[in-house]
C-alpha cells in the first residue's frame, strides 16, 4: 500500500465520518430544540423521510438497471409512486388500523388480523430473509465505492466502521425508549436531512453530466442521435410483462418493506400528511430518477466500456469532488435505509420471535429489559448487513440482490390485500399460501443466491417466454401459488369468531359490531392489581395510568363501558410495547371478560363514539346517513320528556337532557353504567317499569334532590330482526298534574260540604220559624213582664240564627254563573257584618283581630250574596296571612261614581312571583289541602260581573308589610235597572 493510497483512504474516512458527524449534529440540533418545531413537524419533513425508499439502489442500482434495461429502471420509482397515488384506498386504511390498534409493523398487522402469533412470526422471518439482501446492498455499495475511489480493497473494513457509527446513531436516536410507536421527530428529521443530501447529490451529478460532460441538453440530444444511438440500441429492452412484474414488486415494496411500513404507519402522523405524500413523494422520486440516465449516458460518452455500470458516476469525470458527491449521496441513502431497517426489524424480531419464545415475566425493570433487547437487535441487524456483504453480496450484482429482496417481500402482498379487502380470508389460507410462496422464492432465488447453488428448473416455466430471467419466473410462480392457496383454503375452511371480528376491524368497508361483555375487574384501580402479575407493580400501574390519562378517566371509574375502553387502550399500548400477540395474551389472561349468562349485545355507544371520531372522513351517502343519525339522536336528546335506553344487559345507553334536568344527573356521567349502579331511586324505579307487564306505571312517588315528584313511566321493548335489543323508557313528570288533581278533589269535597251545610241550614230554618212563632204566641198570651222579656229575647235570638242560616245558604248558593245579577242596592256595612259572622264560625284564626269600619251610607249596586262570598274569601285570606296578634281592617268610602271597599292586613304579604298569577285558578301559597286556590279567582269573577275591579297593594302604602285589597264597585243609583250577568271567560 503506497502513501498516496493511504492518504486517499484517510480522505474517504474523513469524508464519510464528517458526513455522519453532520448527521449526529442534525439529530442533536433537533433534540435540543434548536430547530423550530414548525420545521421538524412540517409535512414536507415526513415526505422527505419517506424518501428513505430511495436507498443505495436509487443511487447505484438504478444506473445499473438503466444500463441493462433502459427506461426499465423507472419501474423502481413508478411502482412506489403508484402505491402512494393509491394512498386514499390503500395507505389510509392501513394507517387507520395501525393507529387504532397500535400496530407498529407488518407482522403486528398480520398477527392482529389473522389472530395468530404464528402469522406474525412467519411475516417477521420472511421480512428478515427478504430484507437481508437489501441491507447487504447498502453496505456493499459503500464498500465497493470506497474500493473504486481508493483503488484498494479496504472498502470492507471502512464500511464496517461506518456501519458501527450508523448503528450508534440508530441506538441513540431511534431506540431511546422501549416503545417503538409514536412520533420520533429527531429520527424523522435526520432521515429527511439524508433525503435532502442524496437528492442534492443526485441533482448535482445530473448537472455535472449535462453541463460538464455534455455541453448542455442540445449536446446530449446530438450525442443520443449520433454516437450514442448505437449504444442505446444495444441496450436490452425489458419485456412488457417483466416490466409490469417489476412495477408490482416495487409497488409492494413501497409500503410493505419494514422500514417503509415503519415510517408510513408507526410514526404518529396525520392522515392529511399521508395524503399529501401521495403527490409529494412521487415528485421527490421524479427528481431522484431524472439524473439517472444522464449519469449513465455521460459515463458512456466518456468510456463506452464501463465494467460495473452501477458506479458510473465515479467514472464520468476525473474531478475528485464528483466522486465525493456520489459517495456522499450513496452514504446518505445507505445510512438512512440501514437505520430505518434496523429499527423496524428489531421491533419485529423482538415482538414476534423473542417475546413469543420468552414471554415477559413480572419484573421490576420490564422497560429497561425491553430497551436493551431492542438496542442489541438494532446493532445485530446492521452488522448482519455487513456480514451479508462480505459473505454473499460481493459476488453478485446489485440487480440480482435487490430483486431477491423485493420478490421475497412481495409474498406478503396477497395476505395484505386480503387483509384490507377480503374479510373471508382466513389464517390457514394465508399461512399456507405464504409458506408455499416463500418456499418457491427460497428455492428458486434466495438459496441459490446465498449458497451459490445452481438455479433449479422451476415447474411451469415452459409457460413463460424462453429465456425469461429467473426472478421473473420465480415471481410469477410464487405469487400464483400463494394467491391460489390463500383463496382455495380460505373458501373451504372455517374462519374463527375472533378472526372474523378482526377481519371486520381491518376491512376497508368494515361493519364492526363491537360486543359488550362485563369485565371481571370491577374498577379501574383493579386493573393495576391484575396486570401486576404479568408486568410487575411499577409497569402495571404506569400502563394503567397512561391509559386512564389518554381516556380522561379516574381510577375510581366503575362504568362497564369505560372499563372496556380502558382494557382496549391498555391492550393497544402494550401492543406498541411488545407486539399484538403478547399484548393480547396478557390482556386476555389478566383482564378477562366474564362470560356468564349475560346476553351478548352490541356496543352501540362505542360504535357511536367511533362514528363521531371519524365523522370528518365520511363522504357522500355515508355522510348523509351520519347526518340523519345525528338528527335522530338530537331528536331524542332534546325530547322535552325524560328518556333513557337500557340494553338487554341493563347497561345504560342513553339518558337525554330532559331526564338530566329532572334527575340532576348528567348523561355523560351515567351512560355506560349498569342500571343497578345508578343513584337512588333510579335503579328501583327503572327496574319496576322493566319488570312490570302493565305499563305505564302512573304517578310513582319519588324524592329527587329533596323534593317530592310524581313520575309516570312508559316502556317499550326494542325487538325485531334489525333490532339490537334493549328497552326504551319514557319518564314524564306528572307532579303538577297530580297536585292539581288533588286540589280538584279537595274543592269538590268542599263544595259537597257547602251543599250539605245549605241543606242543614234549610232544615234548621223550619224549627227556628216554629220557635219564633211560639215566642210570638207567648207574647200574646201573657202580660208578665218577665215572660215578655224572655219572649223578646227568644225572638231576637231566633232572628239572629235565621240571619246566620240565610247567610250560609246564600254563600253556599253563590258562584253559580247562570244566576242573573240583580241590580238591587246593597249596603257594604251589612255585607261586611254578614261576612264577619261567617268568618267567626270558623275555628281557626281566633287570635286575629277583625275590625269593621265600613260606613253605613255606602250602598252599591249588586248581589248581596255574591258580594258576601267575595268578602268572606278576602277576609279568610287576610286572616290566614296574619300570624298571632294580626289585625284585619275593613273600611269603605266613595270616589266619584264608585265605591271603594278595602281589606287591609298586616300579614306576610304576597310573594311577587305569585302576584302575577294571583287571580288565576288554583293559585295558592297555602300548603296542599288547606287552600283550594279558587277563592281569589271566584272573587275576581264576581267583581268583574259587578263591573268593578280589584287593586292589590302588597305591602300597602305606608306600611312595612301586609296586603291591602281594594274592591271598586259602582254606587247604587235610583234609576238603576236590573241587569243580567254575563258569563265571563276569566
Amino acid at each position: 500500500m503506497n502513501v498516496e493510497m493511504h492518504v486517499e483512504i484517510v480522505g474517504v474516512l474523513l469524508l464519510g465520518l464528517g458526513y455522519l458527524a453532520l448527521l449526529f449534529g442534525c439529530g442533536f440540533a433537533v433534540e435540543r430544540g434548536w430547530v423550530p418545531v414548525r420545521i421538524t413537524r412540517h409535512p414536507i419533513v415526513y415526505t422527505l423521510a419517506l424518501g428513505v425508499y430511495a436507498s443505495a439502489w436509487a443511487i447505484y442500482g438504478s444506473v445499473e438497471m438503466a444500463a441493462h434495461a433502459g427506461f426499465g429502471f423507472l419501474a423502481y420509482y413508478l411502482g412506489a409512486a403508484g402505491a402512494f397515488l393509491l394512498a386514499p384506498v390503500l395507505l389510509v386504511p392501513i394507517q387507520r388500523i395501525t393507529r387504532t390498534y397500535q400496530l407498529t409493523s407488518l407482522a403486528d398487522l398480520f398477527a392482529f388480523r389473522f389472530r395468530s402469533r404464528w402469522a406474525g412470526t412467519l411475516v417477521t422471518i420472511v421480512s428478515l430473509l427478504a430484507v437481508l439482501p437489501l441491507l447487504g446492498i447498502q453496505v456493499q455499495t459503500l464498500g465497493e465505492a470506497i474500493n473504486i475511489i481508493t483503488a484498494s480493497q479496504a472498502g470492507g473494513s471502512v464500511a464496517l466502521l461506518f456501519c458501527a457509527v450508523i448503528a450508534a446513531f440508530a441506538v441513540i436516536f431511534g431506540a431511546r425508549h422501549s416503545q417503538s410507536h409514536g412520533r420520533h421527530d429527531t429520527l424523522l428529521s435526520a432521515i429527511a436531512f439524508e433525503s435532502i443530501v442524496k437528492l442534492l447529490a443526485m441533482l448535482g451529478l445530473g448537472v455535472v453530466a449535462l453541463w460538464m460532460v455534455f455541453d448542455g441538453p442540445g449536446d446530449l440530444q446530438l450525442w443520443l442521435e449520433g454516437p450514442g444511438a448505437l449504444l442505446q440500441q444495444q441496450t436490452p429492452k425489458l419485456d412488457p410483462a417483466q416490466w409490469r412484474t417489476l412495477l408490482l414488486l416495487f409497488f409492494a415494496a413501497a409500503f410493505m418493506m419494514p422500514h417503509l411500513f415503519h415510517i408510513s404507519f408507526s410514526e404518529s402522523l396525520s392522515r392529511h400528511t399521508l395524503l399529501q405524500a401521495s403527490w409529494a413523494l412521487p415528485l421527490f422520486l421524479l427528481l431522484m430518477a431524472l439524473p439517472v440516465p444522464l449519469i449513465w449516458w455521460a459515463a458512456q460518452s466518456v468510456n463506452p466500456d464501463i465494467p460495473i455500470a452501477a458506479y458510473a458516476a465515479y467514472l464520468m469525470t476525473e474531478h475528485w469532488w464528483v466522486g465525493a458527491l456520489a459517495f456522499i449521496g450513496g452514504l446518505a441513502a445507505a445510512s438512512g435505509t440501514m437505520i430505518m431497517i434496523a429499527l423496524a426489524l428489531s421491533g419485529m424480531v423482538l415482538n414476534h420471535i423473542v417475546l413469543v419464545a420468552r414471554p415477559p415475566e413480572a419484573r421490576s425493570d420490564l422497560y429497561g429489559w425491553l430497551l436493551w433487547l431492542r438496542r442489541g437487535l438494532v446493532v445485530a441487524v446492521i452488522i448482519s448487513g455487513w456480514v451479508f456483504y462480505q459473505w454473499v453480496g460481493r459476488h453478485h450484482g446489485l440487480i440480482g440482490l435487490g430483486l431477491a429482496a423485493f420478490v421475497g417481500m412481495a409474498q406478503c402482498l396477497p395476505g395484505m390485500l386480503a387483509l384490507l379487502y377480503w374479510p373471508g380470508a382466513n389464517r390457514k389460507g394465508m399461512i399456507i399460501g405464504l409458506i408455499a410462496g416463500v418456499g418457491v422464492w427460497l428455492w428458486g432465488l434466495w438459496l441459490p443466491l446465498m449458497f451459490s447453488l445452481p438455479v433449479p428448473t422451476l415447474p411451469f416455466t415452459p409457460l413463460t417466454d424462453t429465456g425469461a430471467p429467473v426472478w421473473y419466473n420465480v415471481t410469477l410462480l410464487s405469487l400464483a401459488v400463494n394467491i391460489l392457496l390463500l383463496i382455495v383454503i380460505s373458501l373451504f375452511t372455517r374462519i374463527s369468531e375472533g378472526e372474523q371480528s378482526a377481519a371486520e376491524a381491518c376491512s376497508v368497508d368494515a361493519v364492526i359490531r363491537s360486543k359488550r361483555f362485563p369485565l371481571e375487574a370491577a374498577t379501574a384501580s383493579d386493573f393495576s392489581t391484575h396486570l401486576a402479575h404479568a408486568l410487575g407493580d411499577e409497569a402495571a400501574s404506569r400502563e394503567v395510568n397512561r391509559a386512564l390519562q389518554a381516556l380522561n378517566l379516574t381510577p375510581q371509574e366503575r362504568r362497564p363501558y369505560a372499563l372496556r375502553r380502558l382494557r382496549d387502550r391498555i391492550q393497544a399500548n402494550l401492543s406498541g410495547l411488545m407486539g399484538p400477540s403478547v399484548a393480547r395474551d396478557i390482556v386476555d389472561r389478566y383482564l378477562p371478560y366474564r362470560h356468564d349468562d349475560t346476553p351478548e349485545t352490541d356496543d352501540i355507544h362505542f360504535v357511536e363514539s367511533r362514528l363521531e371520531a371519524y365523522r370528518s372522513r365520511l363522504t357522500g351517502l355515508a355522510r348523509e346517513l351520519d347526518g340523519l343519525r345525528r338528527h335522530h339522536r338530537q331528536t331524542l336528546a332534546y325530547l322535552p320528556v325524560g328518556l333513557c335506553v337500557l340494553g338487554d344487559d341493563d347497561e345504560l345507553l342513553m339518558w337525554n337532557q330532559a331526564l338530566s334536568q329532572l334527575s340532576g344527573i348528567s348523561g355523560e356521567s351515567v351512560i355506560g353504567s349498569r342500571r343497578d349502579s345508578l343513584p337512588a331511586p333510579w335503579p328501583g324505579l327503572l327496574g319496576g317499569v322493566l319488570e312490570t307487564t302493565s305499563t305505564p306505571l302512573y304517578k310513582q312517588a319519588v324524592t329527587l334532590h329533596g323534593k317530592d315528584y310524581f313520575l309516570t313511566l312508559h316502556k317499550a321493548i326494542l325487538s325485531g330482526s334489525d333490532s339490537r335489543g334493549g328497552s326504551v323508557i319514557l319518564i314524564e313528570d306528572h307532579t303538577e298534574m297530580k297536585w292539581l288533581e288533588d286540589e280538584l278533589v279537595h274543592a269538590a269535597r268542599l263544595a259537597s260540604i257547602g251543599q250539605l251545610a245549605a241543606g242543614v241550614a234549610h232544615e234548621i230554618g223550619n224549627p227556628i220559624t216554629g220557635i219564633s212563632s211560639l215566642a210570638q204566641n207567648l207574647r200574646y198570651d201573657t202580660n208578665d213582664p218577665a215572660l215578655l222579656e224572655t219572649a223578646d229575647q227568644i225572638q231576637q235570638l231566633t232572628q239572629r240564627v235565621t240571619k246566620i242560616v240565610n247567610s250560609l245558604v246564600g254563600f253556599a248558593h253563590g258562584g253559580r254563573q247562570s244566576v242573573p245579577l240583580p241590580a238591587s242596592p246593597v249596603a257594604l256595612a251589612s255585607i261586611s257584618e254578614d261576612a264577619l259572622h261567617l268568618i267567626h264560625l270558623a275555628r281557626s284564626g281566633e287570635d286575629v283581630t277583625l275590625t269593621n269600619e265600613t260606613p253605613d251610607d255606602v250602598v252599591v249596586r249588586g248581589d248581596a250574596q255574591r258580594l258576601t262570598q267575595v268578602m268572606v274569601n278576602l277576609l279568610s285570606n287576610a286572616r290566614d296571612a296574619c300570624g298571632k296578634g294580626g289585625e284585619v281592617h275593613m273600611t269603605a268610602g266613595r270616589h266619584e261614581q264608585l265605591a271603594w271597599w278595602r281589606i287591609t292586613d298586616n300579614g306576610q304579604g304576597i310573594d311577587p312571583r305569585v302576584r302575577e298569577h294571583l287571580f288565576e285558578p288554583f293559585t295558592t301559597t297555602k300548603p296542599a289541602g288547606e287552600g283550594t286556590g279558587l277563592g281569589l279567582s271566584l272573587a275576581y269573577q264576581i267583581i268583574n260581573e259587578h263591573q268593578g275591579k280589584i287593586d292589590v297593594a302588597s305591602p300597602p302604602p305606608g306600611q312595612p308589610r301586609g296586603t291591602a285589597i281594594t274592591l271598586w264597585l259602582p254606587l247604587y243609583q235610583q234609576d238603576d235597572q236590573p241587569t243580567h250577568a254575563q258569563d265571563s271567560d276569566c
Binding site: A69, G70, F71, G72, L74, L78, A81, G82, L85, L86, P88, V89, L220, Q221, L224, E225, A229, Q232, Q233, T235, K237, L238, P240, W243, R244, L247, L275, Q276, S278, W279, P282, L283, L286, A289, L290, P293, S616, R617, T619, G620
Partner: protein
C-alpha cells in the same frame, strides 16, 4: 369516492399502458425527457385530485 375511482382508473390504466414508456430509450427521435414529462403530468393530476378531495371533505 368519485375521486378514488379516477385514481383507480389512472393507476390500473397506467399499469397496463406503462410499457410504452420504455420505447423512448432506443428511439433517437424521441426527447429523452419524455417519460419524465408524462410522470410530471401525472403528479400534477394527483395534486389536483388531492385538492379536490380536501374541498370535498370540508
Amino acid at each position: 369516492m368519485y375521486v378514488y375511482r379516477i385514481m383507480l382508473f389512472l393507476v390500473f390504466g397506467g399499469y397496463l399502458l406503462s410499457p410504452l414508456l420504455m420505447n423512448g430509450w432506443s428511439d433517437p427521435e424521441a426527447a429523452w425527457y419524455r417519460p419524465f414529462a408524462i410522470w410530471g403530468g401525472l403528479i400534477a393530476l394527483t395534486l389536483w385530485l388531492e385538492q379536490k378531495r380536501k374541498l370535498d371533505e370540508r
